[in-house]
């Protein structure tokens, strides 16, 4: 993995931001979702209680993960599902391919699953001669354009409808220049319906897996997961081991949080429950259900006290919608499967060197922490990552050195005072081009402060310092009204 190029978020973000008009459009589109979420949340007086509840359920589940996984395996198997265990992405992909080969499946439809993105399943299957069609509209758009999703819930949020029109014209034969969303959606629907009918197997993700019942729950708005799971005879559902919740009754807490946080809907259009493979009216099994439980680094996150809570994530995407950096830099600037705040916490756990710029792609505003429906302290985790990166010597030497230098100055007030004075003077007298050059990142879009003649400290020492005549008089002459004594 570390052979992959190091992602430089600032550079990728700069490219996106350079197109001011597009950045504004992207920002507004996502802020619209955030505001919709706010309106919906305000209708739930017990919202904060729900968040706390969800957080506690997840904390409990992750703490007892092994027991719940085994319980889930028992109940799912009893319901007739095949349970597979995958240590990593490679094992997951191999299992999928084996199931497909066993069933002579050549064409598969796949609904949204960030896990299969994480495992890079599509290119793997395509290499083995299998046709994979993403059936979520946004994912299909991205797939046709040979891109990757830029958001986990809204994969094509970075693409304008006119651009979708061009893509569909090229691939689906829609009218040139057409950009009416309804027309384009109809075209995609017709195209996908055919793919659904001809598919040999359906792949889905999993939103929640219930240890008690062995059931899985899939939430979508388009019903594509339901078609994919119901039409072909084989249903393969891939899930990270953190998707577990203990009891069916716990589900209500999460479904109430998920859709409101994700898109500002009270509930997703489809919340489908699968308990074992499908059966006909007489109870005869008519299909197969394969559940693949994937670790791929999750157990390692579970072992780390700093980042364990990141496993609470229910992939709602609210932290992306609220993140002022994400909204302006676009999902692709993160160079990761999961972008935005949660992605910047998760990606370095997989490859810290490759993703070392991500924990710094954050102004530490804390909005993600407040929006997160399962109360992951996201911005504090990003801060923890910065510490971790420095400890692993993944912080550029220039920054390490600068911080050491500044710390030395801050340990010597007289030196700080002298240097402050010098830099204020320099700022006043140095010709502009020597200050505002291309290495001055602050000065690229901003002016530096106007330097004052005297620092506060200098004033204090002169006027209030020990032995200063004004020390007494300042307190005696009541220059101002004193509203009240404490």
């Amino acid at each position: 993995m570390s052979a992959l190029p190091i992602i430089e978020h600032p550079r990728a973000a700069a490219e996106f931001v350079a197109n001011r008009e597009r950045t504004r459009w992207h920002d507004k589109a996502l802020w619209f979702v955030r505001e919709k979420r706010d309106r919906m949340v305000r209708t739930i007086p017990e919202w904060e209680w729900l968040r706390e509840m969800a957080s506690q359920i997840k904390t409990h589940t992750i703490a007892n993960l092994a027991e719940y996984l085994e319980q889930f395996e028992r109940s799912a198997t009893a319901a007739g599902a095949h349970v597979h265990w995958a240590r990593d992405a490679e094992e997951h992909n191999t299992i999928v391919l084996r199931i497909l080969r066993e069933n002579r499946a050549q064409r598969i439809v796949k609904s949204k699953s960030m896990l299969t993105e994480e495992c890079h399943l599509n290119p793997f299957l395509e290499r083995h001669g299998i046709e994979v069609i993403d059936s979520d509209l946004g994912e299909r758009i991205v797939q046709l354009r040979e891109e990757t999703p830029s958001h986990i819930v809204l994969p094509a949020i970075h693409i304008k409808k006119e651009e979708v029109g061009d893509t569909f014209h090229q691939h689906l034969g829609t009218a040139a220049g057409a950009s009416d969303p309804k027309y384009l959606t109809e075209a995609a629907r017709d195209h996908l319906r055919d793919k659904f009918l001809r598919a040999d197997a359906g792949l889905t993700g999993v939103n929640f897996a219930i240890a008690e019942t062995g059931g899985i729950v899939i939430c979508t708005n388009e019903g594509n997961a339901d078609l994919g799971a119901s039409l072909p005879p084989v249903h393969i559902a891939s899930m990270g081991i953190e998707k577990l919740i203990p009891r069916a009754i716990d589900l209500a807490v999460f479904t109430r949080l998920l859709a409101r946080s994700a898109t500002g809907q009270p509930i997703t259009t489809y919340t489908s429950h699968f308990h074992g493979p499908r059966r006909d009216l007489s109870g005869q099994q008519t299909g197969q259900l394969h559940l693949i439980l994937v670790d791929n680094g999750r157990a390692q996150i579970r072992d780390s006290p700093e980042f364990r809570e990141a496993l609470h994530c229910i992939r709602c995407g609210a932290c992306m919608n609220t993140c002022p950096v994400y909204r302006r830099s676009g999902g692709h600037s993160y160079g990761a499967v999961v972008p935005g705040p949660i992605g910047s916490v998760l990606s370095p756990t997989i490859d810290a060197k490759r993703h070392k710029s991500l924990p710094h792609a954050c102004s530490l505003c804390g909005s993600c922490t407040d929006v997160c429906p399962v109360r992951i302290p996201l911005h504090h985790q990003l801060l923890a990552w910065r510490k971790e990166l420095a400890a692993r010597r993944l912080l550029p030497w220039s920054k390490r050195l600068a911080m050491k230098g500044v710390t030395f100055v801050f340990q010597h007030p007289a030196l700080m005072n002298w240097m402050g004075k010098m830099s204020r003077m320099a700022l006043r007298w140095t010709p502009r081009p020597l200050i505002y050059h291309r290495w001055n990142d602050w000065g690229k879009g901003r002016e530096l402060p106007i330097p004052p003649q005297q620092s506060f400290r200098e004033w204090w020492v002169k006027n209030r310092g020990a032995g200063s005549a004004e020390v007494q008089s300042a307190h005696e002459t009541d220059r101002h009204r004193r509203p009240k004594e404490e």
């Binding site: 978020h9 600032p10 931001v17 001011r20 802020w31 706010d38 305000r42 739930i44 919202w47 904060e48 609220t322 002022p324 950096v325 302006r328 830099s329 710094h360 102004s363 505003c365 804390g366 909005s367 407040d370 929006v371 801060l383 990552w385 910065r386 990166l389 420095a390 400890a391 920054k399 390490r400 911080m403 050491k404 710390t407 100055v409 801050f410 340990q411 007030p413 700080m416 402050g420 204020r424 990142d441 602050w442 879009g445 901003r446 002016e447 402060p449 330097p451 004052p452 620092s455 506060f456 400290r457 204090w460 209030r464 310092g465 307190h475 009204r481 004193r482 509203p483 009240k484 404490e486």
Partner: protein, 265 residues
């Protein structure tokens, strides 16, 4: 009550009037204020970069310097939050000299400890309140728009006690301005884009002055305003509470004085 004034390094060096204003406001409330001159920095820049050793040294130093005081007041939500919420990672509970429990952000101190009802100042202008993130989401000086937990908006309340001051309504009540410490230079392009959007919001709401509890946010916004030659001004909340006039009034007053000196109308 013996109050130690903690002045963030950039305020000391570049915005001394914010420290003067803080001192004035506190003294008008009858508080005895001392400024221990050995103070420098709370260590936040180092902590936010991940340089634990350096942050620890400065945090420890700050704790020792402020040991003699019963209260420590700081005109910055960000530095206050560093001390209150993050310093404990850097030293043992025993040697923080109780600093975490006695440090207050200025507005919080005026609102919660001194319970100041009026400031006897007036500021007849339209003000856009910029909610600095660390004050809002770390210190909980107000009710962040993401949460459903009702909280008093302390900075707003204090500003509402200023005669003539009119608060405008922003489209995005509490979005980050994009300063973010080293973020401002690490991710300069995104930081600038965020700042410009904040300014646009204040401008469209009809604000004449952007007021905030953190001068660092304002240093960033002011830098953008000056670069783009916009008339909007920035002021720290302490300056408003101390009764400082708007900068352009000072300029026009000085210009008038000069005109009078010259004898021209």
């Amino acid at each position: 009550m013996r109050v130690g004034l903690f002045v963030p390094c950039y305020i000391d060096q570049f915005y001394p009037d914010v420290a003067h204003s803080t001192l004035e406001v506190l003294e008008r409330c009858g508080v005895e204020v001392d400024f221990p001159v050995a103070q420098t920095c709370c260590g936040q820049p180092m902590a936010n970069t991940g340089c634990t050793d350096q942050a620890a040294r400065l945090a420890q130093r700050a704790a020792e310097i402020f040991a003699p005081y019963t209260h420590v007041v700081c005109p910055s939500g960000s530095c206050t939050s560093m001390i209150r919420h993050h310093c404990d990672e850097y030293f043992e509970t025993s040697d923080d000299f109780g600093l975490r429990g006695k440090v207050f952000e200025l507005c919080e101190f005026l609102h919660d400890v001194l319970c100041v009802e009026e400031f006897g100042v007036h500021f007849p202008h339209r003000v856009g309140l910029h909610q600095s993130c660390h004050g809002l989401r770390e210190l909980r000086l107000g009710w962040s728009s993401e949460t459903m937990t009702h909280r008093d908006d302390k900075v707003r309340r204090l500003l509402q006690r200023v005669e003539g001051l009119q608060l405008v309504t922003l489209r995005r009540a509490d979005e980050c301005c994009g300063f973010g410490g080293t973020f401002a230079v690490n991710e300069a392009d995104v930081s600038v884009a965020m700042g410009l959007d904040r300014i646009d919001d204040h401008a469209q709401a009809g604000a004449e002055v952007i007021v905030a509890g953190d001068m660092s946010c304002l240093m960033h916004l002011e830098g953008l305003l000056r670069r783009n030659k916009q008339r909007l001004e920035v002021m720290h909340v302490a300056q408003v509470l101390a009764g400082r006039p708007r900068a352009h009034e000072v300029v026009s007053r000085d210009a008038n004085a000069k005109r009078l000196e010259r004898g021209s109308p």
